[in-house]
């Protein structure tokens, strides 16, 4: 595995509370990993690095690197370790590449994370990446179904567990992880895509308003 250095730029949603991956970093290396809220703002372009890896929140990588036509090959990729609201981070790393990202940079980033034991899914630089883009409309459907009395929360979760192998169900994890976070994500997706499936639900709005009241 290539040596890597970690540049901590503030609270990281991906590595809250530390992680073996951070402890395995060197003071310098061919790979630079920027973690934390300021990763995109604080990163410094460095063509000598095999790859520069930026932690992303909900934003696109292009916000930090640009995406205007004619840009040369890039050695910068983005990443986000998926977590649902306040739930612990999963083992999934969504690795974000742009159209001008070099193949070697993407491969090095993937190898780094896989070497550290993560599951890596590569995607292009779209808001919502893979998971939020796909799961949020389903969560919204579940919340609407609950409002419309299609089934109780328990039965909805039981049905998708038994019928689809969705081991956690929908409603229970949404409420446990903080439904107001779901509202934030769907609002951002709806702003970009304007599709009804992403429109915040009544239950999401209520949860958000309650969180602001607290």
């Amino acid at each position: 595995m290539n040596k890597y250095m970690v540049i901590d730029t503030g609270a990281s949603r991906s590595f809250e509370g530390g992680h073996e991956f951070l402890r395995g970093a060197s003071s310098e290396g061919e790979i630079a990993v920027y973690i934390g809220k300021g990763a995109g703002r604080k990163y410094v372009a460095d063509p000598s690095k095999i790859v520069i890896i930026l932690e992303l929140d909900g934003e696109c990588l292009g916000v930090h690197t640009g995406e205007e036509p004619g840009l040369g090959e890039s050695n910068v990729v983005g990443f986000n370790r998926f977590r649902l609201g306040e739930s612990p981070a999963t083992n999934l790393i969504e690795l974000v590449t742009q159209t001008n990202t070099s193949k070697s940079a993407a491969e090095a980033a993937r190898a780094l994370f896989e070497g550290a034991g993560f599951d890596v899914a590569v995607c292009k630089d779209f808001v919502g990446r893979i998971v939020n883009r796909l799961i949020r409309p389903m969560f919204n459907d579940a919340l609407r179904a609950l409002d419309e009395g299609v089934a109780t929360a328990k039965d909805l979760d039981l049905t998708v567990k038994l019928g689809l192998g969705y081991r956690k169900g929908f409603i229970d994890p949404l409420y446990k992880s903080g439904l107001h976070h779901h509202y934030d994500v769907t609002s951002a997706l709806f702003e970009v895509y304007g599709q009804a499936g992403y429109a915040p639900t009544r239950r999401g709005v209520v949860a958000k308003q309650r969180s602001l009241k607290a």
């Binding site: 998926f82 083992n91 590569v122 292009k124 459907d141 009395g149 038994l162 956690k168 994890p173």
Partner: protein, 360 residues
């Protein structure tokens, strides 16, 4: 009841009558054709007694004609030998019933038979079934393209394409050959059970039984009543589901019930982001499995369902709901046109060495 007379019954939503607890419904029937429209309403209590009276009368009217009990089923048939039909036949045969798998296409039967036998061999290999029991089950399982062979069936599960005229055409044939007590169940995944029941000739002896893929592995059955499903029919179907080792869950007769309400638009979303170049199928599957501990990725599941089946389902679903997420994505149409149907053609989002059935 004279199904030939034209009449309208107004019904209102109620939790205690789960077959119609969606909203105010106007149900019109004339010479066997039915139309159902639902409207939101607050007038719940007012119409509740009316519905109960109608239901009770129907049960009374049918009681003399229908002497079968929940324990009286000896022979059951599955009509449709596709991926789902073959899986359902496995569950029924495994439950100890004489089981007939019917399809009007001999080729479908020729394909299903070795897959089912291979499934039971695998079950023996894995120690889930004794060799003797496997032999008994297979001996109780027959295959036919002659619909008159279903003349002694007590229960028929229809598992053909999501196409109302096609399904109703099959029911018309079954109506001619099956005895009056036979219960018809539809594995329809998106279509209205009431609408299908209206075209079957025996709407009181008709239920929705939506199995999940792969049926031989997944225990859930979403069970739905049509407006005219009798309590006796419901009990028979429920007991039958339990007797075959499945886990029935009652759902409303609404488009997609619960599972496809979530799954069909989700799968279209998946196909659209593949088409948009957001990610490759393997990355999407990995992401969804790891993020939520899902047993299967969406592309793996689509390949198992069959892209042609998904296309028919989403077309039917879109026609009912007009929800843009249910409109078939262009990539789906292209893949189906190219014969990339999934496991059944050994190539869909992934390539497969065999079309063997899942599980065992």
């Amino acid at each position: 009841m004279n199904y030939g007379s034209s009449f309208i019954i107004r019904l209102t939503t109620i939790r205690s009558a789960p077959n119609i607890d969606a909203g105010e419904c106007a149900y019109e029937t004339n010479a066997g054709s039915a139309r159902l429209t639902a409207h939101k309403t607050q007038k719940r209590a007012k119409a509740e007694p009316l519905f109960r009276v109608v239901t009770a009368n129907m049960v009374q009217l049918r009681a003399d004609e229908n002497s079968m009990t929940a324990h009286g089923i000896r022979t059951a048939a599955v009509a449709g030998a596709g991926t789902m039909g073959a899986g359902i036949a496995i569950t029924i045969a495994r439950g100890g019933f004489k089981t007939i798998l019917y399809d009007n296409a001999q080729a479908a039967l020729d394909r299903a038979k070795p897959l089912i036998e291979a499934f039971f061999s695998k079950s023996v290999e894995r120690g889930k079934l004794s060799r003797e029991r496997s032999a008994e089950i297979i001996a109780n399982l027959s295959f036919t393209s002659d619909i008159t062979r279903l003349g002694n069936c007590d229960f028929v599960v229809e598992a053909i394409f999501e196409d109302i005229p096609m399904k109703c055409g099959l029911y018309a044939q079954l109506e001619k050959v099956c005895p009056p007590h036979t219960v018809f169940a539809s594995n329809a995944s998106t279509l209205s059970i009431t609408q299908l029941a209206a075209g079957c000739g025996r709407p009181d002896r008709f239920v929705g039984m939506h199995y999940c893929l792969p049926a031989q592995v997944m225990k859930l059955i979403e069970m739905s009543r049509g407006i005219y499903t009798s309590e006796q029919t419901w009990d028979i179907a429920w007991q039958f589901a339990l007797a075959t080792g499945q886990h029935p869950v009652e759902t409303r007769d609404t488009p997609g019930f619960i599972l496809n309400y979530f799954c069909v638009p989700y799968h279209n979303d998946v196909i659209r982001i593949i088409e948009a170049g957001v990610a490759a199928p393997a990355d999407i599957d990995r992401a969804m499995k790891r993020a939520f501990d899902f047993a299967m990725g969406p592309c793996e599941l689509l390949d198992m369902i069959g892209l042609d089946t998904h296309l028919r389902g989403t077309e039917a679903f879109f026609a009912i709901t007009n929800n843009p997420r249910l409109a078939p994505p262009p990539l789906l149409r292209r893949m189906v046109a190219a014969g990339l149907l999934g496991r059944k053609t050994k190539r869909g989002f992934y390539e497969y060495e065999s079309a063997a059935m899942f599980g065992g």
